[in-house]
Subunit: 345 residues, 4 copies
């Protein structure tokens, strides 16, 4: 089969790769229909996030079950599935307390980083991590379930309550999905983005009547944003100090974007007096995944998809996601489609 693997020089190359078959009795092989490109994928390629040389990258995927191991009971060939890439062992002390997202045995189980991922024709995973896509749900919606789970994790870590105002910093694909999640949790959402193109792309996403006027787009410099957020989510990862300005008394800030270089200075007395909290949410706990599948039924997640490319076009796919100084972003969620003829639109 074809697969995009990571070179020693942090580049992707498309090459023939052995098709994975169920190895353990509980394994499932899935024919990939399409995969989203995640910010982490880009971070790997620019050297900001570790990954193993030779790995097949990609972890946001939907597909069709191709073959199953001997003890698989919940899935059968032909089933439409969405992949939950957050593998956990289930037996370490951390897992025994239910904190699967902090599993002590993650080495070799990080899909697309040190475990072969979904930028390929096929992917193999334990049955546990393949969730059936509801019949009436398109693959375009389902492929955004994984980012949605991540968004839910951050929204819940921030203890967002209906009737509160959420400020989401950054209208990239994750910012947009997080804004959708916050709206679904009953909040009024202010989505901030300096890039004009991205701001209009996001504006377009939220023009759907079901959002009413609950999600609005703003330039991050608008003065009336000060103190507005009961919850402020930094989807960029280096905006903590700025987020403090956006935070209301008794507000919470959630750090969502991965940024290995970011550092911030805080005044403890100010946090104390304003009753402000700064929250690191960790990865999402796999328990959240079924909830994301359920919520996706009534969320037009597919609106965040702006581009789709074949595996062969991977360089172009990553390019539309890259920020060039002085040039606007042009994309939100970008998909890689192994079998372009099968791509649903």
């Amino acid at each position: 089969m074809k697969a995009l693997t990571l070179n020693a020089d942090r580049r992707l190359s498309l090459a023939a790769h052995p098709k994975p078959e169920p190895r353990d009795a509980l394994d499932v092989t899935v024919e990939v229909v399409q995969s989203g490109i995640c910010g982490t994928d880009r971070s790997v390629l620019v050297g900001k996030f570790p990954a193993e040389t030779g790995v097949v990258m990609g972890h946001e995927a939907v597909g069709v079950v191709d073959s199953v191991g001997a003890e698989v009971t919940r899935l059968a060939p032909g089933d439409r599935v969405v992949i939950n890439p957050t593998l956990y062992c289930g037996t370490c002390p951390t897992c025994l307390e239910g904190h699967w997202d902090f599993c002590s045995n993650k080495a070799g189980t990080e899909v697309g980083l040190d475990y072969d991922g979904s930028f390929a024709d096929f992917i193999r995973l334990p049955e546990l991590f393949c969730h059936r896509v509801p019949d009436e749900m398109s693959f375009d919606r389902a492929v955004v379930i994984e980012p949605l789970t991540c968004a839910l994790n951050n929204v819940e870590a921030g203890r967002l309550q209906p009737g509160e105002t959420a400020v989401i910093v950054g209208a990239g694909p994750m910012g947009v999905v997080t804004a959708m999640a916050a709206e679904r949790y009953g909040a009024r959402v202010l989505l901030l983005e300096p890039d004009t193109t991205r701001r209009s792309l996001a504006q377009e996403v939220f023009s759907s009547p079901e959002f009413g006027e609950r999600v609005t787009l703003h330039h991050p410099e608008e003065p009336e944003l000060t103190g507005r957020g009961n919850l402020v989510i930094d989807s960029v990862g280096n905006q903590l100090e700025r987020c403090l300005d956006y935070t209301a008394t008794r507000g919470r800030i959630v750090i969502m974007g991965f940024n290995s270089n970011a550092s911030a200075t805080v005044q403890p007395l100010k946090l104390l007096q304003d009753g402000v909290q700064i929250i690191g949410a960790g990865d999402y706990n796999s328990m959240l995944f079924p909830k994301a599948v359920e919520l996706a039924r009534s969320m037009p997640l597919e609106r965040v998809i702006t581009h789709r490319f074949t595996l062969e076009e991977h360089e172009e796919a990553f390019k539309v996601l890259a920020a060039t100084p002085g040039v606007d972003y042009s994309a939100l969620k970008v998909l890689l489609v192994p079998h372009s003829e099968g791509a649903e639109t």
Copy 2:
């Protein structure tokens, strides 16, 4: 009556002062039995915390009701009371949502700062802020209820769960009371203090059999403290960076000590990946006060009292609380007793 008032040069002086009488129909005048000295009082005298010149200082007090306004129904002269100094208006939009601790009309209502306090023979307060001391409870225990309420607020903001480990940084009077509170909430408590004398004073407090071995004293440099705290409370106010070392994965840090000069650098990615939260708790909500009265019934709070002085001895009283370079702290909670003959021991 006698009262300790604040001079323009940030010093206290003992002077004759008009005895306060109930002014509004819901006012109560309380004859002060004794008052604790709070860290904030010291901060005022060293210029780190604002207060109005001429004010009678002091806000941790117990006493006996002397006289009551025409519409007071819950209290009568002779009743033993403890004072809740966190006045709120009850009618501003913040109060209407129950966030009394963030009342918008605090000006002129901060007991001991811009509203005459308890370092005096008498104090006047609305009935609402005088809580009856349970019959079987000593004034020595009751005078620590106010600091306990503050401790509860921080412990609850940190969402401490039974079975967790709490690391309390600093074994001054607030650190010790907070350690008591954390123990009562079901935690194992590690109380950190570099000062040898304070460490032994605190050790003595927790030698009471009802604490079992659940509260232990430690030097802050002990290497095995790393990553131990599910909850870490900084009772000093400038130890945030250090607290990050003490915090376990998925742990919470609560900033408790007031320190207007403190600043700290944090790495957002580290908070994110470790699932760590930094929490400013604000002042306590007055709703917590009845809970503190109830919990005090079974907590030997009086063990934290190490000294008591008359109002005349106020300079000496503040001196035992002062840190002199190279000299150990010698006190935990220090009381001021207007009528020394009436002081209970």
Copy 3:
């Protein structure tokens, strides 16, 4: 002024009544624009709920400030307001703990029951209980804020989570508003109603595009309802046993409808084994009111209004709400409009 007062024989009569003026310095007199009829009002008239003879009934009201007491600061004549009828003293021990909904001094403060209410040209209330209607919000929407607050209280007591399924039993006005609330809190909602007319009225309410397909109407006998509800709310008040059938494992049932005659038999072991909870929510805490005002901004609450009558037409107004054996209900929310010329549609 005109007012509908309660006779000794539990009937309403329209009569001249002295116009209320601000009596205390914090009082406000509001000219009533319109009032909703609540189920409780009907219960009073059929003798199922106590009320004082001679009282002006009505407690769901919007209007315009007519005059204000000397110390009123937040409101001025001409301001558009919605009334929160849940008066509390703020000073009893229960109020001091923030449980305003269980205030110990309710006698003489129950609006429309033993305190003159809003089925009149004017009503007098403490400023605290008059909330400004947002500028862009119609009176038709605002008049449903009070029932919405009640709905929020029950939905929150049931700890409804986004992604869960809520079963609401009864599509009367409260059932419909509760379904709207549950949808806004992120749930999929199944609204049950045996009455054909009411079912189509409710269906019409939820045909608005912003509800997507998240709220669906069902006959209570549909077999596929068994075990569906993570949260089941009985808006009728005598359906507890039936609700147990609708409840999923680990589900919660909230009793919402007032029914003084209802009684139910439960099997404790079944509750234990299924992890089911039966929840009485009490009245709403006044703290919820501002949240309801905020949420109402993006909820088309006015869709629940089906009828409006003048005070003179009160008998007809109550009649459309009455169930006659064999005849379908014909109304959802019914309004009484003192000044019909001023009624907004």
Copy 4:
């Protein structure tokens, strides 16, 4: 080896039984040191709870690891362990959401009911369900960890807060352990028991100084119990109606005792108006077990043990737990000790 197995006529018989050896690579065989007798065990023998004929009964056990499967990594022969008998599959949809206590594949995994249990010389279990006993902890304390986990589950389901009052109905072994748990969670505890002997046995348990005066014993008929409990736990299982009397406004009732015949009548309107909740907690989620191990470090659980018998003496052991009309209960927790010479006291 010796084992107590269940006959077709619901009696236990001591017989030779094949020693279980690790079967799967993750299995562990534990040499049983001692087992507690649970109320469920008695219910099986009197025909009130189902169990499979031929099964080795018993599920509250501590012991020493005898042998381990090929892939066991956390345990080795000689390790002291306590058994968590709540097996779950980890792969069904319910388990995937973390609700292990409602696992869909329980058939054949109920230790001591349809999976060979601990009233035997040895027991085999997956490594996952064997928790290391802390070095300093006695087997007598550790054998009560399983009942403690059950108690924690009920206390947490009842959302007990520090400073609240818990009323525990029934001072049998579970009632006493639950009272200990409630005390440790910060509550004042009223423990009710009509049986004079049991009341004094329980009184003796709580005479240890670490409980202060926080746990008191009461006859269930004491009139001052009315409305006292913020949380009321029915450890008997047929006292729901009575519990309603003990419950304070806004209180919660948790049904804990298994009683297949119990039925209760409730008035929905009363629950609504008083804000009362009736809670079925389900079995405990295995996630709670590590917390129970940690809390046991500072809880004198061994005080609840009143008797120990050899397997040969099983009839006598069950007899001391049986209620004979007119005769007082004489026991709290009763242990069965396979190797009496090794029993720790």
